[in-house]
């Protein structure tokens, strides 16, 4: 029986190739999107899992509340925090400080392998860290390997890279930052890719030197602190002791009010506020958004299936009648049709797997995560696929199966089953309206995102971004001595128009803000963004001076230039008024010598901050080079070779200002790609759903169409008649979609301090587009219906 049913199912699929094709196409695209989302979410949700005691591991993070500007967050803590917790918190079993840093690592040449020189992130870690986060050590033990200064431990892959085989690593030396020799004392198993700890070079914390090592007032986001709570300790009960600790160590009377939180390990990968060492964060809102999109795609695919299957039901009515006459029970028929749906779903799933495999590289690129479609590596994917088949077969197959199996055998055999006996049309209409409403929302969303992206590209940031290279330079005192000659050499390169040393480009995600005093002894109630630049900064970036003069040539803090926003905040209307007044920040007092026009400090998400520029050579780590656009390539080559001549012990790295700005909008880029893809998928699925509905309606109205034709209706009139109800549906869908998309879109745009005006056009385009798609889809089928010979429909009554 089963084999026979299978044969009949396959024959039916073959007989109605067109339906089968669009059915499987729609379903497989929906399933592929679901699979992709599942694979991606599985990967994202697997971060930092599987450690011993993972529910007791916390990171201590910081926040500051400013009276006029709200709360600021940092994943870093003051460097003495770990020691203070160890001392004051009996609830804590283990504490460890982790300090991120970076520099050039040199592995001396040995027989057989040449010298290795590379720029790398390094982490100064207290050995207790490995009591908190237990990982497998291949050689050495953390407490021995990391309790002396100038020792380093390596991950297996790094040890392999540096010494050929990790077994050779222990006992050897590497040189860090051209000044510290480190002895390799241990090798640990690689941290997996789905981990927030990109630890490859781990140096003992005792090696770490910093002037702020005991300073509670300075916080860098590179100084993290991890704790393992004692069994049975509730993190929320630590609030009061933490307030006590703050009270004990912090200076009183600072403007920003400090606070520290215990952030669970399971939150580290998902918290946008704090971030982590890998810079890979998956906010919870995005996870929920993806689940919603996946569920929606699955549902629309099922709706389509229902629409198409019921449209086809009439053609199966005779078979149902005969089967019933032969003694089939309704239950058996339901099973038959459900298993047919399952068959289609399985075929679609196979196709979807192929599509998923094809789309994965794009997905990997988009999210830069190591996701793979590996059934054996992650059996949960296989389980998900089985569940998907069951769920879709049931959701999509149950309603049509109920309807088809319910035909009365007497009527079915006499071919008296008409399309109108195959269930409520209203329900299907409502589903299609819903589909189109969501399509419109997605189209509006896509258009607004694209519009905002191009707005950001074309908006002037207040300085020149074209043909400017940002070249990293070493900032140790020895290298700094070479800056002046390097600048000379650079200026001699053909095509180079200006060179400036600084610690950050005008728009940068590396901004320093600090409290300051203006002409008084009291801190202002807002923060000042400071940039250390040399005298050529303003010319190199074509910043506009509106009062006073540029900085004079100096290596130390002597004078400052401020921006218009600072003047506004200080209620100064005439820029000349501030010239000669004093600003005191970071313990240095300097006169204002110039005022520049505002430029964007960071992305267009953020307001322009009050800013001060001053010279301070010790912090310069960037060389900005302005070039002739036409001579970019040869000039860049020459810059690299000059740089390598000047700093033979370092590794050259550079980027373009435009690329750096583009990187501020990485999330938006990902989002716009996602929007485009999902809008495309949803449009395609709606297209199929629409085709299913018009097929159903055309079948249902075959007789009516034929009669009208006999009465003298032309094909065009009939097409118009069939199309008009669909146009109404699309219009209603758009009316629903407009307010919804308006709310979403304006919410999204609120995230930008500078945004493109929201016009009516995206809404109009969405409507016109959906009307166009509808007309094309519906006309394809309605033309066929209207053009058939009426005699064929009327002959056999």
């Amino acid at each position: 029986m089963f084999r026979l049913n299978l044969k009949i199912a396959l024959r039916n699929l073959w007989k109605y190739k067109g339906y089968t094709f669009i059915n499987i196409a729609g379903l497989s695209i929906g399933l592929a999107a679901c699979l992709l989302i599942f694979i991606f979410l599985r990967y994202q949700l697997s971060f930092d899992k599987g450690y011993e005691n993972e529910d007791r591991i916390y990171r201590i993070v910081s926040s500051w509340t400013y009276p006029s500007e709200g709360e600021f967050y940092s994943k870093g803590v003051p460097r003495p925090m770990a020691a203070a917790i160890r001392n004051d918190f009996p609830q804590v079993q283990q504490v460890a400080a982790v300090q991120e840093s970076g520099g050039i690592i040199k592995v001396p040449a040995t027989a057989g392998s040449p010298e290795i020189k590379e720029a790398s992130s390094v982490y100064y870690v207290e050995p207790q860290f490995f009591d908190i986060l237990k990982i497998n050590w291949l050689e050495g033990k953390p407490h021995q390997a990391l309790s002396m200064p100038n020792t380093v431990t390596l991950s297996k892959k790094t040890a392999d890279k540096y010494f050929g085989r990790w077994q050779n690593a222990v006992g050897r030396n590497i040189r860090f930052a051209n000044r510290t020799d480190l002895k390799v004392t241990g090798v640990f198993e690689d941290f997996p890719d789905n981990s927030s700890f990109p630890f490859n070079v781990v140096i003992s914390y005792l090696t770490y030197k910093d002037e702020s090592l005991h300073n509670w007032q300075s916080v860098s986001s590179s100084s993290e602190c991890y704790v393992l709570l004692k069994k049975g300790t509730d993190a929320s009960a630590l609030k009061a002791p933490m307030l006590k600790l703050i009270d004990k160590y912090y200076e009183k009377g600072s403007v920003g009010k400090e606070h520290h939180y215990f952030q669970p390990l399971s939150d580290i990968h998902y918290s946008e506020k704090f971030g982590n060492f890998t810079n890979k964060v998956m906010p919870e809102s995005q996870i929920i958004g993806l689940i919603v999109i996946g569920a929606f795609l699955l549902l629309t695919a099922c709706i389509n299936f229902i629409n198409l299957a019921t449209a086809q039901a009439v053609s199966r009515s005779k078979e149902v009648g005969i089967r019933k006459v032969m003694g089939s029970m309704r239950k058996q028929l339901i099973w038959q049709f459900l298993s047919e749906t399952a068959l289609i779903t399985i075929i679609a799933l196979l196709l979807a797997s192929a599509l998923t495999e094809l789309a994965l590289p794009g997905m990997r690129n988009l999210f830069s995560g190591d996701i793979s479609f590996s059934l054996f590596g992650h059996p949960v994917i296989f389980i998900f696929m089985i569940l998907l088949v069951l769920a879709v077969s049931f959701l999509a197959g149950f309603y049509p199966a109920m309807i088809v199996s319910g035909f009365s055998p007497a009527l079915a055999i006499k071919n008296k089953i008409s399309a109108s006996s195959t269930g409520a049309l209203g329900l299907r209409r409502a589903l299609v309206v819903l589909q189109f409403a969501i399509t419109s929302v997605l189209i509006v969303g896509t258009l607004v995102v694209i519009n905002q992206m191009s707005f950001m590209r074309s908006k002037s940031l207040g300085f020149d971004t074209k043909a400017i290279a940002l070249v990293n330079v070493p900032s140790d005192s020895l290298s700094q001595l070479k800056f002046n000659t390097l600048k000379e050499k650079m200026l001699h390169i053909n095509g180079v128009k200006g060179v400036s040393f600084c610690n950050a480009a005008p728009s940068s995600n590396n901004n320093n803000t600090s409290s300051f005093k203006y002409n008084s002894t009291k801190d202002e109630n807002f923060q000042l963004s400071v940039k250390s630049t040399d005298e050529d900064y303003i010319n190199t970036f074509s910043l506009k001076l509106i009062a006073g003069r540029t900085l004079s040539k100096t290596d130390t803090v002597r004078e400052t230039i401020v921006n218009e926003t600072l003047l506004k905040k200080l209620n100064i209307t005439n820029p000349n008024e501030i010239l000669g007044k004093f600003i005191e920040t970071q313990g240095r007092k300097m006169p204002v010598v110039g005022v520049i026009k505002d430029f964007n400090n960071f992305s267009l998400h953020d307001k322009i901050e009050p800013t001060a520029l001053f010279s301070f050579k010790p912090v310069y780590n960037l060389m900005a080079v302005k070039m002739e656009p036409g001579q970019l390539l040869p000039a860049m080559k020459a810059i690299e070779s000059q740089w390598n001549n000047t700093f033979p012990d370092y590794v050259y790295s550079s980027g373009f200002m435009d690329d750096q700005i583009a990187s501020f909008y990485e999330t938006e880029r990902v989002m716009s790609v996602l929007f485009k893809v999902f809008a495309g998928v949803v449009i395609f699925i709606s297209f199929i759903g629409l085709f299913g509905l018009i097929s159903f309606i055309a079948t249902q109205r075959t007789k009516e169409i034929a009669i009208r034709k006999v009465l003298g209706a032309s094909t065009l009139e009939l097409v118009k008649m069939l199309n008009s109800s669909f146009l109404w549906m699309v219009l209603i869908a758009n009316l629903i979609a407009w307010p919804v998309s308006y709310i979403f879109v304006s919410k999204w745009l609120e995230g930008f301090e500078y945004r493109a005006p929201l016009s009516i056009w995206p809404f109009m385009v969405a409507m016109l587009l959906s009307i166009g798609i509808t007309l094309i889809t519906v006309s394809l089928r309605s033309y066929k219906a209207a053009n058939t010979n009426p005699i064929d429909a009327l002959k056999y009554e």
Partner: protein, 229 residues
């Protein structure tokens, strides 16, 4: 009014032609009442459909009111069709979702008759057929004979010069059938409407003035009714 010359109709299936009509030549004048008779499969309905421009002959020439139908474009053909031809079916083929009055009004919509005139003509026809009381009923609320009356009323409302009827009484009881045939005869004699019907029934054919006997797609006999009686 109608000139058929050498009409042929066949379906080619895998190289084998199955003929429906062969060398059909006939001429029907204005005001005639013609019955097409013959056994099942003789090609009666096909011939009627060709006359009604619902099908095209494979070969041959068909002139309707002096116009060569086979060479006309679709728009002209529909124009001609709308103005001159009314169809009546064995299974009535009313639109189930429309009331009696709406069904009758439908062809006028396609002729672009103005709203006021449509109303008056529908009222007129309803009156003539004694169906004013039933005008708001739906087809499934009527008996077969009444449905066929609506079908004829719908064919007449556009004031055609020819009514083509495909077994108009095939689904009716004999009393209702007689009523319908009387109506056809009256329309033919009093209003001069040309009527062409396909029928199995000798009795029905007796109402007409001329009988075309079809057998295997060929006209075997063309007789006037007086001769047979």
């Amino acid at each position: 009014m109608i000139e058929l010359k050498n009409i042929e109709k066949y379906y080619a299936n895998k190289g084998v032609k199955s003929y429906i009509l062969r060398h059909v030549t006939a001429s029907i004048k204005q005001g005639e009442f013609v019955s097409i008779m013959g056994p099942s499969g003789a090609g009666k309905s096909t011939l009627l459909n060709i006359l009604g421009m619902l099908e095209e002959p494979t070969y041959g020439q068909y002139e309707f009111m002096g116009e060569d139908i086979t060479s006309l474009n679709e728009r002209k053909r529909i124009e001609l069709y709308r103005n001159h031809i009314g169809f009546v079916f064995q299974a009535y083929h009313l639109i189930d979702e429309m009331t009696v009055a709406e069904n009758i009004e439908a062809p006028l919509l396609y002729k672009k008759v103005s709203g006021a005139e449509r109303k008056s003509r529908v009222a007129d026809v309803l009156d003539r057929f004694n169906m004013v009381a039933k005008k708001d009923l739906f087809p499934n609320q009527l008996s077969g004979g009444q449905q066929q009356l609506v079908g004829i009323a719908r064919a007449l409302v556009a004031q055609p010069s020819v009514i083509l009827a495909d077994e108009p009484t095939g689904n009716l009881q004999s009393a209702q059938a007689l009523q319908i045939m009387d109506l056809f005869k009256k329309l033919n004699q009093e209003e001069g409407i040309t009527i062409i019907q396909v029928t199995h029934s000798e009795v029905n054919a007796g109402y007409g003035s001329r009988i075309l006997h079809l057998l295997d797609g060929v006209i075997k006999e063309d007789v006037t009714v007086e001769q047979t009686v």
